[in-house]
């Protein structure tokens, strides 16, 4: 298969650590195949930087197949780049044209402090999960697969919400730096299933409290999160989160 090669200009945010202020640095990369992934293109840049004795650009990644949620990058004004329902690791260079300038920024939110260059600390999400995004069960013997009847629609909605990979693109996209889409996905997938029922009220209240403590903003339903989410988490989950919160808040002690 014939490959198209392209030369690109990259404007990359470089920042030594959380204490220093960063700046954009411009690099030229040549001979990039349109079949490469975006991260492979950055690998080539880094190899070049290392060969030249420079400091490679730090960026997060792990699975490189769109399932782990580690990759990030705000590319040309959109989290995870120009494609819809896609992670940065699954973005391919055919999305760009020869000679194009690509601006690469880290997720920007005070709750996601920059560790280095394009890498941010997303442990705030872990602490939100720790506040209630689980079910407490005594596992005992494995039960029969069909002993818990679950309505098909609820199972589907719960599964769709559970698709969230915790990447944080919703926060990066939101003008309020709100983590509400992430939280709503986590609350919804348990609220829709019988296993989530016993801790349903305390879960939503403690997870919202932790989200506020982490310093995320307040949702104003602009819809930017849904539009950029690689897993197409629906904003309807935020409305469900609100109703869970309202009923839990009004009926708690």
């Amino acid at each position: 298969m014939s490959q198209n090669k392209m030369n690109l200009k990259l404007k990359v945010w470089r920042q030594k650590n959380a204490q220093t202020t960063g700046a954009f640095v411009t690099y030229n990369v040549e001979g990039i195949s349109d079949e490469m992934s975006f991260l492979e293109m950055l690998d080539i840049l880094n190899e070049k930087l290392i060969t030249e004795g420079g400091e490679p650009v730090a960026f997060d990644h792990d699975c490189r197949e769109g399932i782990c949620g580690m990759c990030s990058l705000y590319i040309n004004g959109k989290p995870h780049g120009p494609w819809q329902a896609n992670t940065t690791c699954q973005l391919h260079m055919r999305a760009f044209k020869d000679g194009e300038t690509i601006v690469i920024e880290p997720w920007r939110a005070n709750s996601f402090p920059i560790v280095k260059d394009l890498t941010v600390d997303r442990s705030a999400f872990d602490r939100i999960i720790q506040a209630g995004g689980y079910i407490s069960v005594n596992t005992g013997n494995a039960v029969d697969g069909n002993s818990l009847p679950i309505e098909k629609q609820n199972a589907d909605d719960a599964f769709a919400a559970a698709m969230c990979i915790g990447c944080g693109a919703c926060v990066a996209a939101c003008k309020n730096s709100s983590a509400m889409l992430f939280l709503s996905a986590k609350v919804s997938h348990l609220a829709l299933l019988p296993q989530g029922a016993p801790e349903r009220k305390t879960r939503v209240l403690s997870m919202v409290a932790q989200m506020d403590k982490e310093g995320f903003g307040s949702c104003t339903n602009t819809g930017a999160c849904e539009a950029t989410c690689p897993k197409e988490i629906s904003i309807a989950n935020i409305a469900r989160l609100n109703s869970e919160y309202l009923s839990a808040g009004l009926t708690s002690e």
Partner: protein
């Protein structure tokens, strides 16, 4: 969880915006309905009676207090939320993300500020004279004396600048409602698809019809469609 904790959390603050917003939406219906009396073509008799009812009976006066509380809460909370949300991202992006959301959804504070300026001028035009500084009175017969608010309207809307300002404010109201109406219902937890589709359609219709009715009032006086 106390009520205070509940309504001061990130979700709770939105609930305050949503509940006050829905209350103000209801007020808009009442206000537009009463003011539509100017088109009765009776020289303002029906309109002045409606104004008299709103200003002199206890139920509308009590509701008026609620209305002011609602408006102030909505304004103050709105500004606080905007400032707070802005403070969550100290270093902004070089390229901003515009495709994922509507410009008016991102501009609720600016649209709201235009509406606040409008309210101040609007109160000065009508509410303050009617309730505090006094308005010329008119006898509708049998000693039924009411404020001639119709004449105040006629006079106010002779100025082209006032009419333009009112129309711009109505357009801002339209966009504020285009986002606010459906957003308020999402915030109070309506997530069923069928209701959501219904509410969104009603919301867009409302955002067009109500501001249009309001905008036609100064225009009607200015162009002498009513006299």
């Amino acid at each position: 969880m106390t009520f205070k904790q509940m309504f001061t959390s990130s979700v709770g603050k939105k609930l305050v915006m949503a509940f006050t917003g829905i209350f103000l939406v209801l007020f808009l219906v009442v206000h537009a309905g009463l003011n539509a009396c100017i088109w009765a073509m009776d020289g303002g008799v029906m309109f002045n009676k409606a104004g008299h009812f709103m200003g002199s009976y206890v139920v509308p006066r009590v509701l008026e207090i609620g209305l002011f509380l609602g408006i102030f809460l909505h304004i103050i909370q709105g500004y606080m939320l905007t400032l707070e949300n802005r403070s969550k991202r100290s270093v902004g992006y070089a390229v901003s993300y515009k495709d994922g959301s509507k410009w008016y959804s991102r501009s609720m504070a600016i649209l709201g500020t235009i509406l606040l300026m409008f309210f101040i001028i609007h109160w000065k035009h009508f509410w303050i004279p009617s309730r505090i500084t006094g308005v010329e009175e008119i006898d509708l017969g049998n000693g039924f004396v009411v404020h001639n608010l119709y004449a105040v309207m006629q006079e106010t809307f002779q100025s082209l600048w006032v009419v333009i300002f009112y129309v711009i404010s109505c357009i801002s109201l339209g966009y504020h409602l285009a986002h606010g109406f459906q957003s308020a219902f999402k915030t109070i937890g309506v997530h069923n698809k069928k209701y959501h589709v219904l509410i969104s359609s009603i919301g867009y219709g409302f955002a067009i019809v109500i501001p249009l009715v309001f905008a036609l009032m100064p225009i009607s006086f200015y162009l002498h469609w009513v006299n």
